[in-house]
Symmetry: C2
Subunit: 552 residues, 2 copies
């Protein structure tokens, strides 16, 4: 008897599961029900199609129902929504969205790959024309149509997550005057505030206006377009709105069937992607996963995990005993001239868990080059590392820069995947030739610096010390007089590094010297000279003037 | 009493050790003796200075003796060669190469960081003008001078290692007609032959002539320039020669002092970079290191290891007990349009050790894209993975392509560093957004494919099966008729993948079907259909027509 496998949802997780299933077996019958118009499409490419970087719409459609039939002998029904799961009878109830008819389909094994949907909050005016979300191909078509039909000048993006930022970039690329509204005090939640600040200033340098710490109270139709009334009372005039404020799992049919969900509506699965009910598997955005860093349960809606879980579930559907090993949440986004990436936990998360910096965990932030500086084209990037205080185990990494950021975050992500620590980073062999890396590459440097911090050789002040200034603190700028003259932090005292040894007499042992240079290396050298000369309170300003200036 | 540390050699290992020493202590006295004209220079940048990519010569000089004094309080003497080490007396004998005078310098601790020197074989005519090596800044100056003074048209590079290839590229960039002569049957020894073949054809497409499997017998002066007489009897007319056939460690003074060397002249050190003699450390190209992959002793002359060893030795010189954890030999080079990179062991090495493919180790080779294909600019790359048969442990990786190769080799290098295996690769989280990677990224795919191979789901034939053809073999091309019509391997039979299920009747169970498509994915799907339909002998041609055509 042929085993019959029914898959609900035909995009990342669902289509991957189907393809893998067929490769494993010619025997089973595979059916996909997809309520949307398309299967196997490149969700992640949608913003770039809107902006024109991906001009050909067909490039987004990786598989069609017809090709899925020809190639994989998988039956796909689009416009078919599964409205009910009947685990007792091993059936699903389906509504043909074209005809409106309902029918049942039996299954031996079921895969729920229903993904998530964008949150559409019940804000007054939310249904006004000109307000869009970006989730599916038809969403994209609608936006492109609207842009084609209305010669608009302004757009507002609600939400500063990666989809919001990608949309802001792409609408800006079309020549629109773009505003971003974000409720939190920063964009890109995976980053900590001081890293996100680098994006803030870059977004603004690109003439995109950024409204942080403010939410939408109401959308209003005006003579010329739309007005967004904000919680603060301010108002923003625009012609079009993109809503990208987050997602929630499409788990209602699962819940109705008695499948256990977590508090956020994520389907609870075991490591084999099995739900609580026999023969029902779930994968992708709709499931709760193990947080790789701390073993807690979490939701991480990303394409890589969805695809991998789809493959793994397929193996297990046919009897294998593969285990999904948790998600770190490694992610990346191109944001105007910059690229921002992160892996693992950030400080905000750790602090929410009650962890204390300097006790439970510590961080370093450095500025490094994408490759050897003497080879043309090297670009500076900012790297942040978070590690466990006791053990040095890596907890998370963040990177912002215009080049080479992806590979450094991947390096951290992989080191973390193996439970690596600070010392491991010092040993990684990053392939080095001048066009590609440095002999002691950026990730090695993160390791060296963190190793030094752990050994007490170096101490960093918080990035905002220049604002919060302690009483006893002296900001010691060790750059050359020329650099100092050109631009300096108010109140900073200048002793060039190369004169420091001979001018130690000018310093007072009671003071806390916060040393600053261009990126941090000279500051570190100066700090070592001071510490080795028994100055008791010496720290360095992380990222130096490069960071300080980048966030102005 | 101030401890006095003497360092012999002031470039990668030596300068790094000095800098780190000073950061650890203001107390010790640090002296560097360097026989050359410069310290702390970017050896690795020299070819690019010659070619003009690094126009400013000063960019190559990372530190000068004067700045080393000012910044690190390190005394540097250039043009000073250490001619003898007297361990009994804890002294070194030094010749001032300017004055010719000799003197002694005492030490408490000594660091040998003398590096390696290019091999200059005793070939007749080797001393003719116009024959150069590329190792130091003065070497580079000489080459640039020669090029400026002689309006030459042709250059020959002897040696197809990374320095030879970088030189070929840079001389070609200057408009010269370049030939490469290499004794082995391939360039870039870290790659296996089939991967190097990708470079061969690309080098030739760049109009650089490549003479493989031939060595130099003699250099002759001719009316117009130089003649290179080859071992094969052939001759090559040129105007200039770059010798880059390998290096040997500068270990004579160590040997003379009774420090134990290995058979290849490398100084034997323990994991703390200590030589066999008390208080004498050695780092960099001159030392033997542990091969990270198998724990054997080996020589790996690369900048990353030299720099890291210099830092680590400095720690240990001052009493720490750090251990160097071995070298994998991760390396990379830009070679015309391509970039070639490798980590760990290659098949040639494994076979030299008596290891057998299919018994001790196995390999997979796949074609992948640098990022999501639907986002513009994705470039194909060839990735090879070598893993232990029993355990799946990674033994080595190789990559050739025009973009994204560095980050994939780094991923493999890091996974290897943690003792990772095939299954681990499937779990790596490579930061994914369309401009950077794929949802199931190239390194995940390597893992999937190798996992399938280990589970018997897929089998590959050797790349050269098209030349060696077995009797019973049928080359089954599953591309579309259009693709097949455009270009095919002679003798290949065409059944498009999407018709295969319905045309199984045309196939014979006794045959060995070697399935081929454009890159390997359709071939794999076809192979699965055949295997799942109980065809007993099914394999796929690795890298498909993309590989086949790239090596033509
Ligand atoms: C604009 C955009 C950009 C993105 N960029 C990135 C990125 O750069 N990197 C990254 O990692 N991730 C990105 N993502 C997220 C990524 O696309 C998702 O994590 C991934 O697609 C989730 O896969 P899934 O299979 O769980 O769900 P989906 O791919 O969303 O597929 C679920 C499907 O199930 C269907 N469905 C739901 N309920 C039913 C039902 N009852 N009956 C039938 N069908 C149903 C839905 O219509 C949907 O097509 C992006 C997403 C969007 C929208
Ligand atoms: C052209 C070129 C390109 C390269 N490209 C790369 C690359 O892309 N990636 C990579 O990883 N590696 C590359 N390398 C190799 C890398 O430069 C070396 O591995 C590294 O410099 C070794 O460091 P070291 O300190 O051991 O030796 P070196 O950096 O060579 O320094 C040794 C120094 O010791 C001096 N010395 C020797 N004997 C004595 C003595 N008796 N007394 C006083 N001084 C002495 C020498 O003059 C020399 O300056 C390249 C090398 C060259 C030449
Ligand atoms: C299109 C889609 C159905 C393809 O899924 P897929 O067939 O699993 O993926 P691929 O086409 O990349 O093929 C990968 C398979 O080929 C194998 N493979 C890849 N290269 C190979 C080679 N050179 N030789 C042999 N096998 C190879 C892999 O091992 C893998 O097979 P496995 O899973 O059985 O191990 C699915 O990816 C999809 O729907 N994507 C769009 C939706 C989406 O992901 N959206 C979010 C991101 S924008
Ligand atoms: C120039 C040279 C002397 C510099 O050596 P170095 O001082 O060890 O290296 P850097 O200048 O990159 O500084 C690195 C130090 O700064 C620290 N550092 C880097 N960024 C930092 C930051 N933002 N904050 C604090 N410390 C930082 C690192 O931890 C490291 O210190 P440590 O070794 O004490 O841990 C040496 O690299 C050299 O001679 N290079 C040329 C030769 C060569 O390498 N050739 C082969 C390759 S072409």
């Amino acid at each position: 008897m042929k085993e019959k496998i029914v898959i609900i949802g035909g995009v990342a997780g669902g289509a991957s599961a189907a393809a893998r299933l067929r490769r494993l077996s010619e025997e089973c019958e595979i059916k996909i029900f997809e309520r949307g118009d398309y299967i196997s499409y490149a969700n992640c490419g949608l913003p770039y199609h809107i902006g024109g970087a991906i001009p050909d719409r067909r490039a987004l459609l990786l598989q069609t129902p017809q090709r899925m039939k020809e190639r994989y002998n998988v039956d796909v029904k689009v416009h078919h929504e599964v409205t009910q799961i009947l685990p007792q009878e091993k059936k699903v109830k389906i509504r043909d969205l074209t005809s409106g008819q309902e029918f049942f389909e039996s299954y031996d094994k079921l895969v729920i790959a229903t993904g998530s949907s964008p949150i559409v909050p019940p804000i007054p005016g939310i249904d006004l024309p000109g307000i869009f979300q970006v989730w599916t191909v038809p969403d994209t078509d609608r936006i492109k149509e609207y842009l084609a039909e209305h010669p608009i000048k302004r757009a507002a993006v609600i939400g500063g997550g990666f989809i919001g930022l990608e949309m802001a970039e792409n609408l800006h690329a079309l020549g629109l005057d773009v505003s971003i509204v974000e409720m939190a005090d920063q964009v890109m939640a995976p980053l900590d505030y001081e890293m996100a600040k680098l994006l803030h200033s870059n977004i603004q340098k690109n003439n995109v206006s950024l409204l942080l710490g403010d939410g939408v109270k109401e959308f209003q139709k005006t003579q010329e377009g739309l007005r967004i009334v904000l919680a603060s009372g301010a108002a923003l005039e625009t012609d079009m709105v993109i809503l990208a404020i987050g997602v929630r799992p499409n788990s209602k049919i699962a819940a109705d069937a008695g499948i256990a969900l977590n508090a956020r509506g994520g389907i609870i699965v075991d490591a084999g992607m099995r739900t609580g009910i026999q023969d029902i598997f779930a994968v992708g955005d709709v499931v709760e996963v193990e947080d790789f860093v701390d073993g807690e349960r979490t939701m991480i809606p990303l394409a890589g995990p969805a695809n991998k879980q789809g493959r793994l579930a397929a193996d297990n559907l046919l009897g294998a005993r593969e285990e999904y090993a948790g998600t770190q949440g490694t992610s990346i986004a191109k944001v105007f001239d910059l690229c921002a990436a992160a892996t693992g936990h950030n400080e905000k998360q750790l602090q929410k868990q009650g962890k204390i910096k300097g006790k439970d965990y510590d961080t370093v932030m450095i500025v490094q080059n994408s490759h050897a500086t003497y080879y043309p084209g090297a670009k500076q990037m900012f790297l942040k590392l978070i590690y466990e205080m006791d053990t040095g185990r890596l907890l998370g990494g963040q990177a912002v820069g215009s080049d080479g950021v992806d590979k450094r975050i991947d390096a951290l992500s992989i080191a973390m995947r193996f439970g690596g620590g600070v010392d491991d980073l010092t040993r990684l062999e990053i392939a080095y030739a001048p066009p590609f890396a440095s002999a002691k590459d950026a990730v090695n440097m993160l390791g060296f610096v963190a190793q030094n911090a752990r050994r007490g050789l170096v101490k960093f002040v918080p990035w905002n010390i220049t604002e919060t200034k302690e009483e006893n603190m002296v900001l010691l700028d060790v750059r050359t007089p020329g650099e100092y003259a050109e631009f300096r932090i108010p109140g900073a005292v200048n002793i060039p590094l190369d004169e420091l040894r001979s001018r130690l007499g000018e310093l007072e042992r009671e003071k806390h010297y916060v040393v600053i240079c261009a990126v941090g290396v000279r500051a570190y050298l100066a700090a070592r000279i001071l510490s080795n000369n028994a100055f008791p309170q010496v720290s360095i300003y992380p990222g130096g003037m490069t960071y300080y200036r980048a966030i102005q």
